[in-house]
């Protein structure tokens, strides 16, 4: 366990780090922004920088960068929509000016693109930076995609991009996913985009629109770094798996529920994936009040429900889409809940350990 990584928990009341200690974990330490809402933290493996996306409510969305693992932070630029940009969601809400509401996803570019960052936002934007977040520009081709005005919000008022997966073989190839706006791929560094939702369906939509690729509600998309053509999606309607880089998708039925938000894939074995299920749609609580992680080790042919160490009665924790993370070893995972519980495993989920039960509501978990 010499290379066990630190957990970063982005919460409603700040950013916390939890370091490995002994056979388990140490106490959560404040790494910044105590009292403020940290919705997401990116760890850039290329240069070690941490990026914390804040939602300050009255004061808007703010972005900070740390080059010393959270000891000090510098506020940097946030994306801005161009003058005149509007949001017209496809669910009948009135058109309004596009203004930054939330920074919902971040990803580092390829090793051959120092300083390159991608940012997915609400409403419906994808932005790019080539100077470590000191400046941002809108990816116009996706913003101007004809279907984009018909995307609509899921849990949020407006649609947003929550997943960004850069192809490690070729950093100009990027896949993003939007709620509710489908899965999109560029092969030319964002200059053009194609929708990748063949096989996905949305039972919650009117019958005429259920197979419409541009309204699919992928809750989260992840890509295996070692086998980048393998993608896993936790969709509003179920779990989807692709082995051809999103050209086609296969729906998987999983017990006790195929509904959830979060998904993680093993860094080297693309057939291994983890999900945190909940009762679908309006309930969003663990089935029978018993928390589990569903895991496949064979590319979705079979699943097991991992329960050891997780509460099996009276549990109402929900795990958001960025609330589950896997470390670089592939054996360590951690997830945090809306109730402020944080669990971790060092054996791929065969057993889980509660790291904290007193954190604020957790939005996102990552390893550093």
């Amino acid at each position: 366990m010499a290379d066990k990584q630190t957990i970063l928990a982005s919460t409603r009341k700040g950013l916390f780090t939890i370091s490995p200690g002994g056979s388990g974990w140490g106490k959560p330490q404040v790494a910044g922004f105590l009292g403020d809402r940290v919705v997401l933290t990116l760890v850039d493996e290329r240069d070690g920088a941490w990026y914390a996306a804040l939602d300050l409510g009255h004061f808007g969305a703010k972005l900070h960068r740390s080059d010393d693992r959270g000891k000090t932070w510098t506020e940097i630029a946030v994306p801005a929509y161009p003058e005149g940009a509007t949001v017209k969601a496809g669910d009948g809400k009135s058109t309004r000016p596009a203004k930054l509401e939330l920074m919902w996803s971040m990803a580092a570019g390829g090793p051959d693109q120092p300083g390159r960052l991608w940012m997915g936002t609400i409403p419906g934007g994808l932005f790019v930076s080539d100077d470590r977040g000191d400046s941002w520009s809108l990816v116009e081709a996706l913003w101007n995609e004809p279907s984009r005005p018909d995307w609509f919000g899921g849990g949020y008022d407006a649609p947003g991009i929550h997943s960004i997966a850069v192809d490690p073989r070729d950093a100009a190839r990027v896949i993003v996913a939007a709620s509710c706006g489908g899965v999109w791929e560029t092969a030319d560094d964002g200059a053009s985009w194609a929708v990748r939702c063949k096989g996905m369906s949305a039972a919650y939509m009117p019958p005429e629109r259920r197979d419409d690729p541009t309204i699919q509600d992928a809750h989260q998309l992840v890509r295996c770094p070692a086998e980048p053509d393998v993608l896993w999606v936790q969709h509003h309607n179920g779990i989807y798996h692709s082995t051809d880089c999103g050209q086609s998708w296969r729906e998987l039925k999983v017990e006790p529920s195929s509904f959830g938000f979060a998904v993680a894939v093993h860094p080297r074995d693309a057939g291994k994936a983890w999900f945190v299920p909940a009762i679908k749609d309006e309930k969003r609580i663990p089935v029978d009040g018993a928390l589990c992680v569903t895991h496949t080790a064979d590319g979705g042919e079979t699943f097991t429900a991992q329960r050891k160490g997780l509460p099996q009665e009276g549990c109402y924790d929900l795990v958001y889409r960025h609330g589950l993370a896997i470390d670089r070893s592939g054996d360590g995972l951690a997830f945090g809940s809306t109730t402020g519980n944080l669990w971790a495993t060092g054996d791929g989920g065969a057993s889980w350990q509660r790291v904290s039960h007193t954190l604020p509501p957790i939005y996102a978990v990552t390893f550093a």
Partner: protein, 93 residues
């Protein structure tokens, strides 16, 4: 006759309703069709419309797969075979 369907997360607030609710209406407009449904199921009104009679912000109304564009104007003519679908965004945790 136009068919009006309320998605399960709306219909579940009606007593004894399991699953989505579908109603055939005689309404010539969206407003008339909704009023028929509200007459039969008075509870529905407050889940679909706000106190000003506007479709609630997070409720969407589709006619033959296309969303209405003005939530405050329900005087939309309906084809006799129109399929109306009323659904909602479901929020967060």
């Amino acid at each position: 006759m136009p068919t009006l369907t309320f998605a399960r997360p709306i219909a579940r607030w009606l007593p004894d309703q399991d699953g989505e609710l579908s109603i055939e209406t005689r309404g010539a407009t969206l407003s008339a069709a909704l009023e028929e449904a509200f007459a039969a199921h008075p509870t529905l009104r407050g889940y679909v419309l706000d106190e000003r009679g506007t479709v609630r912000h997070h409720v969407a109304v589709f006619i033959d797969g296309a969303s209405i564009t003005d939530k405050s104007d329900l005087h939309v003519p309906l084809d006799a075979r129109a399929s109306i679908f009323v659904m909602q965004a479901l929020s967060g945790g």
